[in-house]
Subunit: 261 residues, 4 copies
Amino acid sequence: MTMTVAQADSLIVDGVELPSRLIMGTGGLSSFDTLRDALVASGTSLTTVALRRYAPGEASLFGLLTELGIKVLPNTAGCFTAREAVLTAELGREALETDWVKLEVIADETTLLPDTAELFEATEQLVQRGFKVFAYTNDDPVAALRLQDLGAVAVMPLGAPIGTGLGILNPHNIELIVSRATVPVVLDAGIGTASEATLAMELGCDAVLLATAVTRAHDPERMARAFRLAVEAGYLARRGGRIPRRALARASSPMAGRADL
Amino acid sequence: MTMTVAQADSLIVDGVELPSRLIMGTGGLSSFDTLRDALVASGTSLTTVALRRYAPGEASLFGLLTELGIKVLPNTAGCFTAREAVLTAELGREALETDWVKLEVIADETTLLPDTAELFEATEQLVQRGFKVFAYTNDDPVAALRLQDLGAVAVMPLGAPIGTGLGILNPHNIELIVSRATVPVVLDAGIGTASEATLAMELGCDAVLLATAVTRAHDPERMARAFRLAVEAGYLARRGGRIPRRALARASSPMAGRADL
Amino acid sequence: MTMTVAQADSLIVDGVELPSRLIMGTGGLSSFDTLRDALVASGTSLTTVALRRYAPGEASLFGLLTELGIKVLPNTAGCFTAREAVLTAELGREALETDWVKLEVIADETTLLPDTAELFEATEQLVQRGFKVFAYTNDDPVAALRLQDLGAVAVMPLGAPIGTGLGILNPHNIELIVSRATVPVVLDAGIGTASEATLAMELGCDAVLLATAVTRAHDPERMARAFRLAVEAGYLARRGGRIPRRALARASSPMAGRADL
Amino acid sequence: MTMTVAQADSLIVDGVELPSRLIMGTGGLSSFDTLRDALVASGTSLTTVALRRYAPGEASLFGLLTELGIKVLPNTAGCFTAREAVLTAELGREALETDWVKLEVIADETTLLPDTAELFEATEQLVQRGFKVFAYTNDDPVAALRLQDLGAVAVMPLGAPIGTGLGILNPHNIELIVSRATVPVVLDAGIGTASEATLAMELGCDAVLLATAVTRAHDPERMARAFRLAVEAGYLARRGGRIPRRALARASSPMAGRADL
């Protein structure tokens, strides 16, 4: 298998080159060894870490990420207001020495859906404070553009609510977002299996972020490898220029020239 | 990228081991060099060749396949009756020295849909004559089982009519076929882009066969590579054990333990 | 509500005019009164009765149908071979004095899917014996045309396997059948709820047949009424000429002339 | 056909009883007579009128609505900001003597998608000024709840962008909104044909609003009648309690008792 990650163009966010277009979450795996295996198999270059769940004992996690050359993207998971998110981001910047932050502000614990009003406010404040905001949002094209206009370096629409594994519920919205965004678009949340990650890339997303689909899979390492290939397949297919859909059949070669019997 | 084809179990059909689970058609490409590049990029181990379109000038095609170590699967494309298909298969066996045949018997030129009544008859005759039949069929689970019972070494249900690029129109039927077949199931026809090949494998198919989706793509080589990865991603995802679909959200780590602000 | 059934053109099958385009099955309801209420609410003109389940005690069923002016369509449910089906049809003709028969020949008890090979044979024999065959089949356009060519007076493709309530799994096939059939096409089996019956008619079907969706509903009478309206809505919508699907929005009135503020 | 609108419970909004659950827009029809016929055929009790397109010549429209006993719901179509929408609503209240207003604040002319930030602000102001706000919004469950909390008397999520006829792109979101809202939920925008209106009601919506699907149909009167029946069918089906979806088939009556042959 001669295909390598380097053959696909790297993802550039905030001027930084990321060889892999698969971004991984780290939550949900009980075993440190399983996490390491899954991260390696995924080929990821960037991994989110929940700041509000960051504990001294997790120092080893950062050691692992450093060892594997994986960049850290702290997130504000568990925040319900702009105020909480900004505070969390500030604590994270101090602890982890990065101004990158994945901004999550959710509306409630039942749906874990983003609260766009709070998102807009938090994005505005974080940008003013010098953060590079990766904004996790719903699939509303208007909200995605607003976040970009407010200075987000990447917009991250959901495919479906977090942890549902329902895939991309509204591909039309994702296409609208991709067609209008100038910053990278990362499909974030809802992915359950490899074909959905491939589809996300075919729709034109620049990367895919997932956690549960790997960490809660029966075999996280194998699933991580599946997603690595799936994302690359979708990236290539988008650029390979798929055939148009047709209502009627078409033979792969003309019938006319066929041999008589 | 350390992932290699060898890491995935090979496909075994008729006792023969095929390292790749992507089967390629060769029709539709005007340039011989483009075909070579696409075949190499696809990583395929098995390629269909239309017997009724086989011409002396195509000797170079067989040279190429031999050079690349790709096995030939002659097909009976363009046949409308069992009689035509059996004659075509016999001519192919003589010319190509293989008893493998992809059996295609279509009902009409508008839909190119398989004619199952003729298929059954042709399968019966070909098996009696010592052929190893790879039966291209519709997605009817009853027809697929019948073909297996008649001695087909692989059943090849369509996802959608040939050349339409409509993907897998009825995943439920494909799942039924997979759950009941004991011979390999190959998703054949209708595939337009990578995510659909991944889905086919996630549904439990053993391999994917496609032609137009590569040969008529804007960039056949890149698309061939996309499909190679897509098929492998789907194979791994099926075995990785995807998370169940849930109606409601679920956080990747518990909310309970989060830090106070 | 001034809309009446008479406003929609009647369905003509075998030269007989049926005012309603909803055909009902009678199996599955324990209470006779509930069945009566459901039949009345459905507005049906034609009802299937399983010959192999017909028992002397069911005399009252035929009394009810006569009283309500509902025509009887005997079916061969429970038959696995052409031979069984033909025998069953003959017994039915004698008992019920009608040469109409809904031909069902299923392949196995797990999927209840039609066995097309047996169907073709049974249709041929029944037509020769003077029956008017309403052929229950899968959604394969080739099989549907074959049944028509063999003399069926109506072809009845499934939406999904019997009793699953999965709706119309492959609308593309149903559209292909409709576009090529010259006899009435009846969507039969798989329907679970009203919108699916509406969709069947929008796809161009001439009628919808269902049983379980009413008889096993929480409130069979209400559901029967829902399906009555649903079928008529779909029939009208097909003829009303729906707007084309568009990728981008379009205001219902021009923006240009709007008032200044 | 004995089914009448009165058999279905009326829709109650803001304490007002509306016999029909189909709300019609009036834009897009060139002929006054065609509009009259479509309104009658729809059976609607409530019709939106674009305030910013209201012109003296349209006096006849209001005459018609009065004559038909159809209530007027002025809308703020064509407004891009909360300020514009509030001004428009005030002008409408004065002209039409109703405090009902369908609030539309769109983000741009390409997508016509709602701008939720402006919507929230406009809703707050309009409620303070004594308006009864019917809020047209995207399908974000968080935005829908926010609008309800701000005092909207009805929330009106879109199925798809205005005028696209793409149907309900994300049924999961509509179900989430229905499960959490306490005010009526009206599916607004995107509907192209009858089955989609039926589906909206089956998902639990309290009503459906559409314009283009009727006014731009080939035969607006027939399509209006189709939607009338479709909405009622969906309402009944929701309450009739559909059968569960099953992966495997289930006969409508037991096979066990069938007659021997």
